[in-house]
Symmetry: C2
Subunit: 207 residues, 2 copies
């Protein structure tokens, strides 16, 4: 069955990076997959939409519809969207679940750390009042109630987060194969043990 892996989180939390990495692994595994880039979607489909609460809801709803359209054609999707409101998180699930499996991945990151990365210098501009409705600065961000997967992009490296997402996708039954045999990190045994130890410390490998 096709699926949509919806990475949500603050600006600069690492959504696109994770989505791209997970996309690559899934493609190598033979999955038919599309990466719906939020910026591309906005530019091509909704250049008129701003960042008010209503416009964000519209953006999320329309993107969910496109995910559904792809899923019903057996194309799986990864997408990174801030999705700052719980009702939009829930609505995305409802729209997509009629055609594919929906996996909400919360990419957790504090405002401080995200502002510290800030590749486009947006947090600073928002803090200076030059950007309105900027998530986490002068616009709300609601943590999801029921994410299927949570990664902590402050505590984990990208490799660790990717590994954890794949691990969880297997646990959830979304992926059938064992990533550990399919996905070669190019790590030594010691490094793998180190990662597993850290994931364990984070409480991710408890079950």
């Amino acid at each position: 069955m096709s699926f949509t892996i919806w990475f949500m989180g603050r600006p600069a939390a690492g959504k696109s990076t994770l989505a791209k990495r997970v996309e690559n692994v899934l493609r190598e595994q033979g999955h038919h997959i599309e990466n719906l880039d939020g910026d591309e979607i906005r530019k091509n489909l909704y250049p008129d939409l701003g960042f008010t609460r209503e416009d964000r809801a519209t953006n999320n709803r329309r993107t969910a519809f496109i995910c559904k359209l792809l899923n019903r054609n057996d194309i799986s999707v990864v997408t990174g969207m801030i999705t700052p409101f719980r009702d939009a998180q829930q609505q995305a699930r409802e729209i997509i679940e009629s055609e594919g499996e929906f996996v909400l991945v919360y990419v957790k990151c504090s405002v401080e750390e995200a502002a510290n990365r800030d590749p486009k210098n947006l947090y600073q501009q928002a803090q200076e009042g030059k950007i309105e409705n900027f998530t986490g600065v002068n616009h709300p961000f609601q943590e999801p109630h029921n994410p299927d997967i949570v990664v902590d992009s402050e505590a984990q490296s990208v490799d660790e987060s990717v590994a954890y997402v794949l691990h969880r996708l297997e646990e959830l039954g979304v992926l059938e194969t064992e990533y550990s045999s399919e996905y070669d990190f190019d790590l030594t045994v010691e490094e793998e043990d180190e990662i597993k130890g850290r994931l364990d410390d984070l409480g991710y490998l408890d079950d």
Copy 2:
């Protein structure tokens, strides 16, 4: 290679009927195909769009982007859109051709005949001034300069038009197989000869 078959023409010209029939044949032939229904697209993606010239251009451009998105994932598309303006017809081609083959099918039908069919009673309401910007009544309709296929839904039956579209798709190299061996009309030899004769009379089988 994936393709988009874009049926354009006046309201009630028969675009959706033809798109649905061609979709069914292609699906039976094993093509991976999506039917982008204009009403569904508008309802889910652009409920805010009206029918001004600008809104129609936006609708056409966005739909073309979705066709492109599907085509780049090897999903072929049939869609029925009025597409009343030549620049939008041309723009759809430009957007889609980067990922798939674009086939513009002009479903020709006079205003009189379309108004006569008028399943939703829209022509009458437009003529009574109850609907603004209604194509062919109080809004322009520009015949395409370079359609890849023209069917005449007044002179031809639906079966004839479907057969002709498939025939032309083969000629254009979009379809590889001979529809005549794949597509069973459930017609007798006499009926097939009759159809071929009529298509010939219409100048469709000249080449």
